[in-house]
Each structure stands twice: as C-alpha cells, then as structure tokens.
Amino acid sequence: MPIRREVVYAAGIASFILSYIIHSPSLSKPIYSDIVSFWYREGWSTRLRIPYIEASFEYPPLSGFLTFLAAALGSNITSYYSIFSAIILVFYMIMLEIVIRLCEERGVGLEHALILICLSPSMILYMVYNYDVIFASLLMLSLFLLLRRRLTSSAIAFSAASLVKLINLITLPFILMHVEGWSDRIKYALISLGIFAAVNLALWALNPDFIDSTYLYHVRWGLENAWYIIFFPSSGSWDTAKLFGMLLMIYGLLKVYLHDGADLIQRAFMALSVFLLTNYVFTPQMLLWLPPLLAVMGCLPIPYFFLDLANAGIILLWFETPNPLAPGSPPQLLALLRAVLLFIILLETYFAPRGVRVAEKIKRVA
C-alpha cells in the first residue's frame, strides 16, 4: 500500500515532539543537546552577547545568528529552547516537503522518507540537538532548486547552507559540473561564494579574531569518533592522523567528482559520506545529512538500520563512559561499526551504476 504524504508529515511531527521532549531542559535528566549547552556556556541567562562580535562562536554565521535569535526572543532556558526547536521544526518541514516532492517526481515510494527521515532513532535523538537538520534542509533546498533550473535561488540556498556548515563547500565542484554552460557556472559560483564570502568578510572586519575563533577553532580539535583512532591511539600523533584523514578525503572526493554514472543526489550523498568517513570529527548528529539524500535515491540499505542504531548508541553511551574518546571505549566501538557500515553503503552507491550496466549486459545476452 503506497504511503500518503500526510502520514509522513504526521510521523515527522511526532518525531520532532519526541526529540523536543527528550532534550527538554525542563526534564530532571534530559538527554544532552548542544542547543541547551549553548545557553549555559554563553551565559545568556545573565547577559546576551552578540556571537562573533562580542563573544566567539565556533559555528558559521547563520548558525550563530539563529542561536542568537532564539536567545534574544527567549527570556529563559525553556523559552529559548522552545524557540530554537521551532526554528528547527520549520527547516525540518521544508526538508520533508522537498524530499516528498523529489520522491514523487522520481517515482520513489514515500516509505523511504518515512523510515529514514521520520522514524529513525538518530533523527529522533539528534533533531533538536544542533544545526544539522537546518543544514540538511538548506542543502536539499539548493539541490531541489538546481534540479528545477532555478540557479540564482539555488545558489542563495547553497550559500545559506555553507553559512550553517562550512562543509557544504565540498559539494560545489559537482554542482558546478551539473550546471550547463560556463556563464551559468560562473554565475552560480559567484553568487554562492559571493554571499558566503561577504558575510564572513563583514564579520572579520568587525572582529579580526572571527576567523580564528569560528573556523580555525576546529583545526585545533582532536580526533572525535573518527574510525582511524585505532591507528593513532595516542593523542600525540593526531596531527599526522588529521593529515592521513585529509589525504584520504582528497582521494575520496576526487573519486566522487570523477564518477560518471551518478546523478546529482547520489554524488551529494557520496561526497558527504566521504567527508564523514575521512574527517577527524564525525559527531553523531552529522549523520542526519544523509537520510534525506538516501530517501530521494530510493535507497534503504540493510546496513543503514544498524548504522543508525550504532549512531544513536554513541550519545546514549557517551556520558556513561569515563573516557568516551579513548580507543576501545563503547562509543568509539560504535563509531567504528558505524564507519564500516557507512563505507559499505558508500561502496554500494559508488558501484551501483556499474552493477546496472552488468545486469543489462546479462539481460541482453540472455
């Protein structure tokens, strides 16, 4: 029986409510959420400071702006949390609508969206958590608009996504390859990078420490849930580990950029998967970037169920483990399992066109 879009929306809203409740600061023992921690960390209960200008903030400008907006409108932690959750809900709904439309256009059943975006444990645990749903939503919006050939709107959405998570920039090469004609490509690059650069330059002019405290801050971060911690168990070797990850990332991204048989959505999925697998930080909420793409691809790989469970388990065990970053600790074992499963899915996606070609050949011979 085909699933109706109303069912998907209903399930999505239910997931959101559940996510809102489990992280709510009103609970006596809520599950950790970055959003809540920002409020306490920034000391907004006593004095509201403008991120990037009056205080450093380690996420790109649009993330900081939305956080500041929620803090400015909310007078206490509960109202701040509720407003922030409402902002996430808006982006989540946009993402759901885009995914549903793309699925309908491509003849993909909505059960994919239902399972991957609404009912998955990771989505429930990490939705009201950080900026990842906002990023995924803006990324999907830019891809959706690009497929509709609305280049300017797509480029604006692209730069917005980059202003939420810098990593969006890795998708630019194949987006530009997808745009036909050099003049349109240049236009797309100018708009998307121009807006991104303008916002960052303005903040840099206002605060010269902005680049260091927002972007370079992450460079100084150590390994977190990266599978290759098994090769680099002592933290003294993590600079080399980062170099190792970066080389693998360059190789993986080149393979994705040069892939012939994949469409825009598949390439976005593969590029983000490569990033997640090779970056030295793979926080569990980052996994939320992938389900909308998988849903549109009409792909429900069996390993994904285990991957999602392992990913959910990371945060559930994080605060129960004395040193969750230590190699061999339960969260790191789950992170390793997650990486293996994601790698399997990535390989499946990468070689799928070849598989189709082989199947066609066999059919022809038969």
């Binding site: 098994i230 090769f231 680099f232 168990p233 002592s234 070797s237 600079d239 080399t240 190792f244 040069l258």
Partner: protein, 436 residues
C-alpha cells in the same frame, strides 16, 4: 681485427645492452668489494655499540656511526634509530649474520644495492631514450660518480633506498604499476625521503595523462587509477613493514604512530642562525662549491714534507653534478619544442619532475623552513642527470665530444679520489707530483 673488435663492442640489441650494463655494474661492484674492508675496526664490537663511540677506531665511515651500532642493537632485540624505517638496517643485520660483525657484514648488501643502481639507471635510460649508447653512458656516468660511489659503498640507508626507487621507476616505465608500487614500498621502508622520488613519478604521470587524454576529467581519472596501483601498494608495503618492526620490537603501538614519530622528528630538524649549512645551490654550483666533506680520511706523514691518504672517503661535487643546471635549462627548452611539435617529451619531463622533487624541493625546505640539508641528499638526483645529459648530448659530433669529455672527467675524478688507494698507486701519484 679492429673491425672485429668494434663489431664486438657495438650494441645493437637489448640483449647486448644488458650485457654492457652488467659489465659496467660488475666493474663497479668489483671496485666496491675491493675496498669493503677499509677501514677495518681497531676496537671490538662491544666498544662500538653504545655511546660514546669513537667512529674512527670503530672503523665507521661517516653516518655508519649511527647505523651500525643501531643494527647491532637491533640484533640484540632493541628498538633503536626509530626515526628511520628499518629495511636498510635490516640488510646490514642480514649482512652481519652472514659475514660476521665486520666491514664485510656491514657493507656487503648495501654495496650490492649501490652497484645494482648502476644497472637500473642504464635500463631506465633505455626506456626513456631508446638509445643504446646513451643508456650505457648514463650507467657509466653514475657508476663512476665518486660521491655516489662512496655513499653506496658504506653502511648507510641511501643505497638500498635509491636502488629500490630506481627499480620502481623502471617498472613504472615498463607499465608494471603494482610491481613498481612494491619496489617503492621497499624504498620507503629503506628511507622515507624516497617519497620525493615517488612524487616525481606521480607528477610525471599526471603530466603524461593530461597530454594523452582529451579532457581534464579523463586525465584525472586515468591518473587516479595509476595512483591507486602505485601509491596504495607502496603505502601498504610501508605500513606492513613498519608494523612487523613495531610488533617485533614493541617500538610503537601501531605503524601509523611510528610514521608520526618519523615525520615529527624530521620536520623538527631545523637549523638556527650561525649554523653552517651547505645550502642546495652549493651542491651544483662549480664556482661556489660546498667544502669537500671528509667522511673518513687517514693521513700518513712520511716526512715533514710528504703527506698522503691511503683511505679518504670524500663527499664532493663531481663533473656530473656541474651539469645540473645545464640539464635543467635544456630539459625545459627541449620539452617546450617537443610539445610544440606535437610530441610528448618523456625524457625531459621525467628529468624535470625528478629534479623538482628531489633537488629543487630542498631550496624552500632549507631557505624558508630552515630544515637541515646535506650535500649527500643530491645522491638521489644524480641518476636522472646522468640519463638526461647522455641523451641531450648525443647525436652531434661536438656535443658528443663534450659528453665523452664529461665521462672522462668522471673517470678521472673517480680514479683520483678513489677512497682506498694501494701503495703502488699512491707512489705513482706522488711520483707524478700529485697530492695523494
């Protein structure tokens, strides 16, 4: 009679070329084997294993003072000299196990690697030039390069590293990428700086793919396939080798941590103001040369006037080294003209890539990053200069004359600075009024 001799000496087939190359290699090998026992140690191994070590009385030439004690301690199960990968030292250990803890044991296998490089350079030259004569001359130029000869006759890491790298380069040119990767893996396991030679091959292949393929995407795709075969194989071999060492000696938790240690160690070797460093330009500039480095010199004073050196291992410029910039400029010019005529300049680009990553790279490393550099690092660049100059000067009477003069100069330097001189030879030199 003369015609028959000329016929016999001419090279008209690959088989004949191999015979010539083997001949030159054997001559070099014999020279190397003859000098192995000099200097012979005065002190027993026990006194030359742990610091303080008296290099001279222990019979160590140059950096042997680091590597032979390291090989000895490794034989006792100790993890030492971890800043370098273990294969060259493992060869020294194997030599010690076969021939005993004496100069034969320390140097025999390293020496064979040094001689093998001569043969391999000839083969590489043939793959790049398809000229029998240029290949033989290239091998001879390297074989009689006295500094290269000295460095590859003593127990250091460089000879095996270069031999495996040359094997890798040859197999690459023969289109055997996986085997090439295997050889490069062994080279990396001998000395980490062979990564520069591997990067020259990568760069050259990228240039070749860009020329051959119609689109940039096509070129990149074919290049990535090549990188996968060569680099991945080399890295896997390196990691396995380091892993075996680390596991056996309990040196590091993982081979990756060992790699991290090596990278940190080498990037930390920087000089400060006031340190005397032989900057890279002094390695090739005949006017402002780096001072001749005495690796091991024994001086004998006969009377107050006469001094001679029966053993004298030097590191110094040779006529071939002076050709570096000529080769470099000619390679750029010839590459340009051949590209314009629609031909891919194999030899010229190969030379440029090799020089770029094995010689020119030391300019920014020394001048900007202040990394310690040593003139013997040029050893890795010598083969490609030998190959390039042999081909570039071939074909015209005048240029060939220069080529033969260059070869004669190399042989004269070789004979004059030969590190171990028998008494009759010293007497001859002194009789001729030359310093010996």
């Amino acid at each position: 009679m003369l015609r028959r001799l000329r016929e016999w000496l001419s090279i008209k087939s690959e088989r004949r070329l191999r015979a010539w190359l083997i001949g030159i290699t054997l001559i070099i090998l014999v020279f190397k084997l003859l000098i192995i026992p000099y200097p012979w140690p005065e002190l027993p191994p026990e006194s030359c294993t742990y610091p303080p070590i008296e290099g001279g009385r222990c019979g160590f030439v140059f950096d042997e003072a680091h590597y032979i004690p390291a090989a000895r301690r490794m034989l006792q199960g100790e993890a030492v000299n971890n800043e370098h990968p273990p294969l060259s030292k493992a060869l020294m250990m194997l030599g010690i196990l076969i021939f005993g803890d004496n100069p034969y044991g320390w140097r025999a296998l390293i020496t064979i690697c040094g001689a093998a490089s001569v043969y391999l350079v000839g083969l590489i030259a043939y793959e790049l030039t398809k000229s029998f004569r240029a290949s033989v001359i290239a091998a001879a130029l390297l074989g009689f390069d006295i500094t290269s000869f000295n460095l590859s006759s003593i127990a250091m890491l460089d000879a095996p590293a270069l031999a495996f790298s040359l094997l890798g380069a040859y197999l690459y040119l023969r289109r055997r990428p996986v085997f090439s990767g295997l050889a490069f893996g062994l080279a990396l396991l001998s000395k980490l700086s062979t990564a520069f030679i591997l990067s020259a091959i990568l760069l050259f292949d990228l240039a070749k793919a860009s020329y051959k393929e119609a689109s940039f995407r096509g070129a990149m795709r074919s290049w990535i396939r090549f990188v996968e075969r060569i680099c991945f194989t080399a890295i896997i071999i390196l990691i396995i080798g380091l892993g075996i060492y680390d596991y056996s000696y309990k040196a590091f938790q993982t081979p990756f941590e060992h790699l991290d240690f090596m990278l940190n160690y080498h990037s930390g070797l920087t000089f400060s103001e006031g340190d005397v460093v032989d900057m890279p330009l002094t390695w090739t500039n005949p006017i402002f040369q780096f001072p001749r480095a005495s690796y091991f010199v024994v001086a004998v004073q006969v009377d107050s006037l006469k001094t001679y050196h029966p053993i004298a291992y030097y590191g110094m410029q040779t006529p071939l080294w002076w050709m570096t910039w000529i080769v470099f400029i000619f390679a750029i010019y010839l590459a340009y003209t051949r590209l314009r005529s629609g031909e891919f300049p194999d030899l010229e680009l190969f030379t440029l890539c090799w020089l770029l990553t094995n010689y020119l790279i030391y300019f920014p490393l020394a001048h900007i990053l202040h990394r310690w550099v040593y003139s013997f690092y040029f050893y890795n660049s010598v083969p490609v200069i030998a190959v390039a100059i042999s081909r570039m000067l071939e074909g015209e009477r005048f240029s060939e004359l220069i080529l033969y003069l260059l070869l004669a100069g190399q042989i004269c330097f070789f004979l004059y600075f030969f590190p171990v001189k028998p008494q009759w030879y010293i007497d001859l030199l002194l009789w001729l009024g030359l310093p010996a």
